[in-house]
């Protein structure tokens, strides 16, 4: 059975051979170009023979060349400077690729740096280098996201959700009852009313104290050094530091910070001489 004619068959004999898609390996190519007949390549072999037949007799030299061939070349006319053959193109190509690649990388880094899209260390380095080399100023990276921003919130309405910052002040008495004048009893959400509520991550001093906080005003001297909390209304479960001045001299001793053994930031706020 004869094979079906394919798309690439260019002959009328329907041999089903993909004539133009036949492979030609380097060995066959070398043999053809050396003038040797290669089986299965009659057309190419004939063409090579035809091309090589173009070599005719020696062409007639021009008068200038004929004089050289007749009399030779005087030694003083001979040029002894080194012959320079064309350099391989791959060197130029590799240099071109290297330059384009370098330009692309620099453009990408500078673009990302201008958009402040690099990682913080890289952004800082790029901004420094660019600022040092050029008059341009790239944005420097912001503060580390792990570090809370210091926002000195002194508004009295801020909820006392803070955990006292680290100080050396001893922890106040946790067993003090709410009736003892703690300023956190007003809201009813003060978890310090339960003696056991001060442990763990529960900040007993947080809450919605209204009496102690509002009535006492703000003790600016005690509040100022304390970092602000970003969530003043997160109730007693919040363990974020808060600078909120929640106590007054007359109320702070009533177990404020009583449940927080690690209290400290609010030392001047929460401690009273009688506590």
């Amino acid at each position: 059975m004869r094979p079906a004619r394919t798309l690439f068959c260019r002959r009328s004999d329907d041999r089903g051979v993909k004539l133009s898609r036949r492979k030609l390996d380097d060995r066959s190519a070398d043999a053809l170009l050396s003038g040797r007949a290669v089986a299965g390549e009659p057309e190419l072999s004939a063409f090579v023979a035809q091309v090589q037949a173009l070599q005719a007799a020696t062409p007639t030299p021009s008068p200038e060349l004929a004089a050289m061939l007749e009399h030779g070349i005087a030694p003083e006319v001979l040029d002894r400077t080194p012959v320079l053959l064309p350099a391989p193109a791959r060197r130029a190509v590799s240099w071109r690729y290297a330059l384009v690649s370098l330009a692309a990388v620099l453009t990408g880094v500078l673009g990302a740096g201008a958009a402040n899209a690099l990682p913080a260390p890289a952004q800082r380095a790029v901004a420094d280098v660019v600022g040092w080399i050029t008059p341009l100023h790239l944005p420097h990276p912001g503060p580390d996201k792990g570090t809370p921003a210091v926002v000195p919130t002194l508004t009295p309405s801020a909820e006392p959700t803070d955990r006292p910052s680290q100080t050396s002040r001893p922890a106040p008495d946790v067993s003090r009852s709410p009736e003892q004048g703690d300023g956190h009893d007003g809201g009813g959400t003060d978890v310090r009313e339960s003696p056991s509520s001060g442990d763990g991550g529960t900040d007993s001093r947080s809450g919605t104290d209204s009496s102690g906080t509002d009535s006492s005003g703000t003790d600016s001297s005690s509040a100022s050094p304390t970092p602000a909390s970003t969530s003043p209304s997160d109730g007693g479960s919040s363990d974020s530091p808060s600078p909120t001045p929640t106590s007054t001299p007359d109320s702070s001793g009533s177990g404020s910070g009583s449940s927080d053994s690690s209290s400290g930031s609010g030392a001047s706020i929460l401690s009273t001489p009688d506590s």
Binding site: R11, A29, L33, Q50, Q55, D79, V83, A89
Partner: protein, 180 residues
Amino acid sequence: MSDARLEEVLPAAQQGEAWALRALYEELAPRVHAYLRARGASEPEDLTSEVFVTVFPRLPSVTGGAPGLRTFTFSVAHARLVDDLRRRSRREPAASYDPDTDPRTSASAEDEGLDRVQTDQVRRLLDALVPDQRDVLTLRLLADLTVEQVADTLGKSTGAVKQLQRRGLIALRRMLEGPS
């Protein structure tokens, strides 16, 4: 003349000896002429003479023996050819030929005619190739250069030359097989 013969002649030619120059010319000139003619040079004979007028005074600086001489000679030929083709491309189109007004005569007009037909067929096929493929194939076929010598002549890598010659032959085969 083999490369061994070229090696024998080359030292004397580098000293400017006339007999050695003639020997080199008789060996290399037919190949240079055929290469220029196959590539469509306007005046291949004159251009061949220009090539050797350039090559001979610089023979003392040629290194690499016979292969180096072949490479250098065809580098010059290729450069002259490129110059000639560029020069022609910038020229105005020539007036059409009128044989009745041509006073020249030739004793071998029929032979020249047959030769021209053959050359035209070869050139038509070669002209249909990509220029790089055409350069590689003509240098390999007519100049009898190796892959490395062609690479040096054209300023390409040997891998690129092998690729070009293989693709050029495949393209030629496609054309020779004719339309479906």
